[in-house]
């Protein structure tokens, strides 16, 4: 690779040299392309194909058209999953933005010596292993010896069982854990946004008499729109791939009340061994993710990476 690249020269493409001499430069793009083809594109095509086949008892597959999709969509669990995913996204995304944004604002604009300390501490849940976090929260929620119930009693909030054991409350209890873990990420994205705000604009606003609440709401919030859009996009994809917290804390129970796409796919594919409906579910999740993402990119101009500031 090295020897071949030597002949080509760095700006070969810019100077439009003959294709034969620039072709070795494609070695720069080759590894990424290979990884993508083998581990992303091929698996996606495979799973899409597989979603049209059913496996009989003898282990042979036969073409079944949309049978897998009909089965999946007719499964009441699927609709519980859809409801849970909607709740998950609708609660998690705005709450994380709000708490993360408020923390970012006060940390960035009102602390100095302790700024690094606060930034780091609020981010720690993001870097704490999710499996550890899940088990700690199981303990927190536990009846009799968990601290949540013990301390909430004092403010008049009495529970008889663990909230994750209650079909009505389980999904909310899990959402709280998820919010707690990922708010630090929203905070950091907003910190990047606030730190990169052009100071001329802030000064101009201050001269015009905007300060405190008005400065925050009418100047800073609108200027952080790129970060907000990115967080929305990342939040939707993050919601669709929810798995460890649910798998480890409730396993989708009780009685499938807290099932999400991740746990549903896991059960169909690896516990029941029904790769047909597992594949159909995978395709559904994939299509939902692509449609929702493209919709946001087209209508909001959202970006796929966490955005700190507008491109100059």
């Amino acid at each position: 690779m090295r020897a071949e690249a030597v002949r080509a020269g760095p700006a070969a493409a810019i100077e439009r040299r003959p294709a034969s001499r620039t072709s070795t430069l494609y070695l720069f793009a080759l590894p990424a392309t290979l990884l993508f083809v083998v581990f992303i594109a091929y698996p996606i095509l495979w799973v899409a194909g597989q979603s049209f086949y059913v496996r009989s008892g003898s282990g042979t597959s036969s073409f079944a058209g949309l049978a897998n999709y009909v089965t999946v969509l007719g499964d009441p669990t699927f609709w519980i999953v859809v409801r849970n995913m909607l709740l998950w996204g609708v609660i998690t995304i705005p709450v994380q933005m709000l708490i993360g944004g408020v923390l970012a604002y006060f940390i960035e604009r009102h602390t100095h010596a302790l700024r690094g300390f606060f930034r780091t501490m609020f981010f720690l849940p993001v870097v704490t292993s999710v499996s550890v976090i899940s088990l700690v929260w199981v303990q927190i929620y536990a009846p009799y010896y968990g601290i949540a119930q013990e301390y909430l009693k004092h403010v008049g909030f009495v529970m008889m069982t663990s909230p994750i054991g209650d079909p009505k409350m389980a999904i909310y209890a899990l959402v709280i854990v998820n919010i707690w873990q990922w708010t630090g990420f929203s905070m950091l994205m907003y910190i990047a946004g606030i730190a990169n705000l052009p100071s001329e604009v802030l000064d101009a606003a201050r001269v015009d008499g905007a300060r405190g609440w008005r400065l925050a709401m009418h100047v800073i919030v609108p200027m952080l729109a790129p970060a907000t859009k990115s967080l929305l996009l990342l939040g939707v994809i993050g919601t669709l791939q929810t798995f460890p917290i649910v798998h480890l804390m409730t396993g989708g129970g009780p009685n499938r009340a807290s099932e999400v796409f991740g746990t549903f796919i896991f059960k169909q594919s690896f516990v029941l061994g029904d790769t047909g409906s597992g594949a159909a579910l995978s395709v559904i999740v994939l299509v939902v993710a692509l449609v929702l993402s493209l919709l946001q990119i087209v209508t909001l101009g959202a970006r796929l990476t966490p955005a700190g500031k507008e491109r100059a």
Binding site: A5, P10, A12, A13, L25, Y26, F28, A29, A32, T33, L35, F36, V38, F39, P43, I44, L103, F106, H110, L114, G116, R119, F123, L124, P125, V127, T128, S129, V130, S131, V132, L135, V136, Q139, I140, Y144, Y145, I147, W180, L188, I191, A192, N196, Q241, F243, P244, G262, I265, F266, F270, S282, V283, A289, L290, R303, L304, G308, E310, R311, A312
Partner: protein
């Protein structure tokens, strides 16, 4: 009150409120450590703190469990993934932003779709693929899929950094007789160092904590990584929360310590515009 006194008061109140919020925010971690430090008699007390504390649980779990080997598995998978992601993504970003190869923009856009793919929809096909390759219970079976999933994000950030770099530098390198490889190595990489640091740290965190694929690919005890062992300990130490939470603390600790060490560089990369898209 003078303006100075008022601003000082406001700063004090804001710090106070932040500390109170932080106190609540840190409760799960404090609780974890606190249970790990309890004697068996206090283990089931419904309290955040108990007294006295003991380090017996930590001594027990370190003595009884092969934590070193599990840690090593995590380290091998993570370091290899990070190295591949940084190398592959920076080469690709260089091809797009500096060499401007024909068709590279199309490739770039195609690779970007990876960022819209939820891992939940990839585990089944990846599991089958890895089984066909005979890569179940191997390091490579995790490293390459992780790398493929990680490259697009790194590539976006590195490309935007390279595009912001002064083009005259690359021109000068060419005039001085640098070939593409030398320009990449001696000009491009040093220029985007804050972005490389940012990408490295982020990829490290993501890979170290990945759960879903690891759960499916690693089934042999001696291959397991730190993120997937807590489940088995929760069964093993069901009647002994002190030991369970001691081992959980030990599992969580390496990455927390690492982050505290590198957070300054991480945030610096972030503020330098690593995430402007």
């Amino acid at each position: 009150m003078t303006p100075l006194a008022r601003s000082r008061l406001r700063s004090t109140v804001i710090h106070l409120v932040l500390f109170i919020v932080l106190g609540f925010w840190m409760m799960p971690q404090v609780y974890m450590l606190s249970i790990g430090l309890r004697t068996p008699a206090q283990a089931f007390d419904a309290a955040l703190f108990t007294w006295p504390v003991t380090f017996d649980n930590f001594a027990t779990v370190i003595r009884d469990n092969p934590l070193g080997g599990i840690f090593l598995n995590s380290l091998i998978v993570t370091v290899a993934t990070v190295a591949i992601v940084v190398a592959v993504a920076s080469l690709f970003a260089f091809a797009c932003a500096i060499l401007r190869l024909k068709g590279s923009l199309f490739l770039y856009t195609t690779l970007l779709t990876t960022l819209m793919v939820p891992l939940a929809s990839m585990v089944l096909p990846l599991a089958i693929l890895l089984r066909n390759f005979g890569w179940v219970n191997t390091y490579i079976g995790l490293i390459l899929p992780y790398a493929a999933l990680g490259v697009p994000f790194a590539m976006v950030i590195l490309k935007s950094f390279l595009e912001d770099a002064p083009r005259e530098l690359f021109e000068a390198a060419r005039v001085d007789g640098c070939n593409a490889w030398q320009t990449y190595w001696h000009v491009a990489l040093p220029l985007v160092r804050p972005a490389l640091v940012f990408v490295t740290i982020w990829q490290f965190i993501v890979t170290w904590n990945e759960f879903f694929l690891a759960l499916i690919v690693l089934t042999k005890a001696e291959m397991k990584t730190l993120t997937i062992v807590p489940m088995q300990y929760s069964g093993l130490y069901m009647a002994n929360p002190g030991a369970l939470f001691a081992v959980l603390t030990l599992i969580a600790l390496p990455l927390i310590l690492l982050y505290v060490l590198v957070q300054r560089a991480f945030v610096r990369g972030l503020l330098a515009g690593a995430v402007k898209g």
